[in-house]
Amino acid sequence: MSEILRIERATLQLGERTLLHDFDLTLNVGEWVCISGESGCGKTSLLRAIMGFLPFQAGTVRIQGTELSAQTVEQLRKKVAYVPQELFLPAESVEEMFRIPFGLKANKGKNITSDKRQKVWQVLGLNEDLMQLKTTQLSGGQRQRILLSMAVLLEKPLLLLDEPTSALDAESVGRVADLLKEVATDARAILTVTHNHHLMDVCDKLITI
């Protein structure tokens, strides 16, 4: 199986606190891994460290075989689609919201047709009319699913999702799980930080830290 993400013997500290010590993780193509654990145990910090937003004190991170360093970080981030917790993008409309990640130089070549988007939105239970709405008219759940759909449509090899269902009801969580299962099979890998039991049940591997 080809490897998308490999973390070896990583140590992560925040101030005086050691969050992870000698931590290993391998994520292969087609795999969906969930990370769970008590609040403040370092789940979000782990995601941030994979993208180089926080420094690992020891160990290595490789994405598709390339080691994360100051020289490679920009190149590696191009292989990632990331959804943080509770994000408000500075966009007036949903359409404008889409233009933010897709307008980046690294994503300019992505061919996002309305067919593709509709397909993803259908799985997530998002109505096509939402595209015409202002962002202030969206509910927290709609905003969260739209952000997730944007990450999926970026078609990056690695998806890093931080609590992607925190604002969703049980039915919507089921839909998100269906989508992520489908995405993982599409030559990609997903790492999700979550407290949601349904996601933990249906993912390929659960790691508790």
């Binding site: 420094p55 970080v73 920009e74 990632v80 943080p84 130089k105 690294a106 970026l154």
Partner: protein, 268 residues
Amino acid sequence: MGTVDLTYLGLGAGLLLMLLPFYFLWRYRTGLLGAAVLGTVRMTIQLLLIGIYLRFLFKWDCAWVNLLWMTVMALIASHTAVSRTSLKRSVLFMPVFVGFLVTVLLVAVYFLGVVMGLDEVFAARFFIPIVGVLFGNMLTVNIMAVNVYYGELSREQQMYYYLLGNGATRFEATLPFLRSAVIKSFSPCIANMAVLGIVSFPGTMIGQILGGTIPEVAIKYQLMISVITVVSAMLSLVITIALSSRRTFDAYGRLLPVFREENVAKKV
């Protein structure tokens, strides 16, 4: 037309007008009366002293002395700009200083040498007033822009890291904050330009007309002064942000602690 000089008695009578804002600052219990009185006293003393100094500067008319004077002004302006933001001196001082100095030199030399066609661009009579006008405007715009840029970047780190995490270059990830800083600091400039001569009569033009210049000449100078103040504000802002960015992000694009300790403590 000749210059109508103001007597010191006349100046005193003019300063008496300040009693009106002082009264309302006291009456409305704003807590600003002390600062306003001190500001007025400082302004009066500083201007009188500068008047004496400028007389010598004009008399000597030495390019090196004028350049030295410009450097002193840049140092004072940089110190003022840094003290009016919450950012660490080590992060902001040099970028602001270099931004001010480079901009003033380029714009003043272009204006005096190319636009006015002077042979001696560093002549005190022309160089010193132009430098003064440029510094005043750059200071206001830079303080506002730097506060907005770093304030929003710090408050909305989630957005900055979202963009980086989805493949943005550091320039792309900071662009929304840069855009916001430019919009907020330049909107007053643009609005002022749009109403110049209709709603507002700017100081340079009024000063020249009162000093005996014919209106047509005063207007031409005012137009050019408006242009060079906007150009210098933008150029100094770009240089300041570009240079300070080298000290505010590490090689991974992580935002380093840029605010002074006391401000961080206040925020907590």
